[in-house]
Symmetry: none
Subunit: 232 residues, 4 copies
DNA sequence: TATGAATGAGTGTTCATTCAT
DNA sequence: TATGAATGAACACTCATTCAT
């Protein structure tokens, strides 16, 4: 699969037209999502009451049920909507970039920056949604999986481009890149430290990427050494 | 603070033996914790019902209240108990090791292995407890913090021992080490992949440690290069 | 009151044409009644939702309210409409018949046959409407009462015609005739047994009527016997 | 199957030990059933609120749920309990009777009398439960079926005893006997007429039984006539 | 120590009905 | 005439927790 095709695919999954046409509906829907995010972020999903969400959205409980069939449904709709925005942002920003390394750099930095700009969503996503993607099969869980999918794709691309060693496990590399970043983000969400998440995110991304380059260099050295040894 | 003092401190906090003396009580208490772990792991903390835990433990709900004052109390007791076991195991195993690098290696590998041996607890800990350490101030949250504390301590020690660059941020290094490992563990919890967690854990630990060494080497080169450059 | 007057009266009450003139309205009204019958028959009145009825009728819920003021209103309109049809059918068919016995025979047989031809309505009528005619005073409840009224009238007529004993209670006789038939109909509705309701209905009607005749004969014998006894 | 075996079977199905042992429980259970009967009888099952039942029983809603898992469950428990009582009463009373005719007479008369003595239950049973035995498979629906089963059994026995014609359909005969009686009972429930249900019930039972005897006599005559005709 | 019984406070969800367009 | 949108009033059911024995 090509890069453009992958992005298209991801975008398509993320964009979920609500089917509603009328203007009023659209506005209400947005109000609900905003309200839900605020309430979920404040109380946590399980402790949130839909009555609160409705009140926060300025509508009645029953109206909320006109838009979402259950509490669970809302709990999924919120991250889904934001995920879509994130992927849109990324798709736009990545257009100018070539080379796997640069793309990964952009991707991971954007993740951190997006979390900083949407802290309530990030809290919800990293502390509640992600851990419970257990409930597989949902559209959402696929969208979450896309997170890794993109990274894995780019790592493989980087290997092809000779950026990183061919011998390494892409999944492990992905774990290092995204795991490190996640840890920084989660720490920020829990303790608001380090102060500047965007900077800290970029820093850890640059560092891990640099380490991967060093690893490649080291690897190349060893590889080259062997033939020489044989030749002698 | 010295290493031994740190470990002592951590152990002390973790060991929170409940004052129960009688044998029967102890057995019942253990049954409760086992049952709670199973139920929490299966249904998630918020969806678990204490009636279920009591049933699983083979006692009546009211009896359960003789041992724990509330649901929250149980939710804390379970991870606490395991955390204590983990720290005990680590304290024992680390006794023979010297050098920050070796200790970190042991520490992180043991984390992965412990998760593999106690998957239900790991599920609970990584997907529920950790993300919600929000509720700060508790003894538990301190025990969880000890996780990072030990690592940070060892990284600092490593820096002192000249193992890693002095210029780096220990917290970022910790984020890389533990974030990578966590990601591997969580992936395993959610998808049971990679198959062998102990091996995969050790692998990612070795790799990140190796990368840190390369980083140090690179750093040293640059540092040494400069004076040379100046000298020229 | 004369037979023709009774029938006229019954017909008039049953025919409660709604004032709608326009063609489209009429068609929609019919669609609503059909839909309501289907939904009521399927889910039972109390568990039916008007949203379902509207959907089944292919219109919006709000449109349904243009035709009926409430759920109760629909619940009455459906049986009323069918009851009217039934009485029309009966009025037409009975025109050629003379004699109370023949008329009763026709009446009861038609009841069974009508139920067979309109099983959904029958289900609604026998299992929901009839039992709850509790809510008296309505036009509908009067129409339901007409059911018995007609029968009672004919039984009295039969007594006058010397068909049955004068000493018997017409209400009890009616209970026997219609109770037996109802039981057959209800059994059919619940278990679809006997297979052929029209036949089974006719059979039980004929049998009960025959039994009434035997009773009359027996009665006459006893009555005649007595004077004879006295004479001796 | 023998008569005694049939009765045993019916009784066993009807008697449903609640499993509760303690005295307080038993009393509460009874209070619930009494309250439910009152409320159901007053408002109809679907319009009854369990909060009302609980209040009527002098307990809290949640306590009610300790005894019954759902509203439906209560709706079944009430008629079931009374049905059990009825079968007990019948079993005791029938002990002294021999002969199918006498037994049927007792059976049907007892049905009417039982309805008179328990009018709230009768209202519930005849106007709500019976019509909706649709929901088959329940223990209750079997207990309801036992109603007919007993009658059919006795009719067959009567045929064997030469009480009634062998040529007739027992199910139709049952429909006549029980349908007539039901109609009388339902009329009484709806309009409180005739005043004395016990008497009216006994009357219609006696009359239908008498009619069946006349039918048999008539049948015998015809049967005997034929051979004679042949002999000539 | 153990438990059967009881409960208060809560909450997600339904549905008939109205209203502005 | 038709309907999309909105809602108030209910209501069944849950569950952590207490208390008398």
């Amino acid at each position: 699969m090509k890069w453009t095709a992958l992005i298209e695919d991801v975008l398509q999954r993320a964009r979920q037209e609500s089917g509603r046409k009328q203007d009023r509906s659209r506005r209400t829907e947005q109000q609900i999502l905003d309200a839900a995010l605020r309430v979920f972020g404040r109380d946590g999903i399980s402790r949130s009451r839909i009555a609160d969400i409705a009140a926060e959205a300025g509508i009645s409980t029953s109206t909320l049920y006109e838009y979402h069939t259950s509490k669970e449904d809302i709990a999924y709709a919120v991250p889904t909507a934001y995920l879509a925005t994130f992927y849109e942002e990324f798709a736009e920003a990545v257009a100018g970039k070539t080379g796997a390394r640069e793309r990964i750099r952009l991707y991971l930095s954007l993740i951190a920056d997006f979390a900083r700009r949407n802290p309530e969503w990030a809290r919800l996503f990293y502390l509640e949604i992600w851990p419970s993607v257990l409930v597989g099969g949902t559209e959402l869980s696929k969208s979450v999986d896309d997170f890794s999918r993109i990274l894995i794709f780019l790592i493989r691309q980087g290997i092809e481009e000779g950026e990183w060693s061919a011998g390494i496990d892409p999944y492990e590399t992905a774990a290092i890149l995204i795991g490190s970043l996640n840890h920084v983000i989660i720490t920020w969400l829990l303790y608001r430290r380090p102060k500047n998440l965007t900077k800290a995110g970029a820093s850890v991304v640059d560092r891990t990427l640099a380490m991967l380059s060093l690893e490649k260099a080291e690897h190349d050295k060893t590889e080259t050494a062997k033939p020489v040894a044989k030749a002698s």
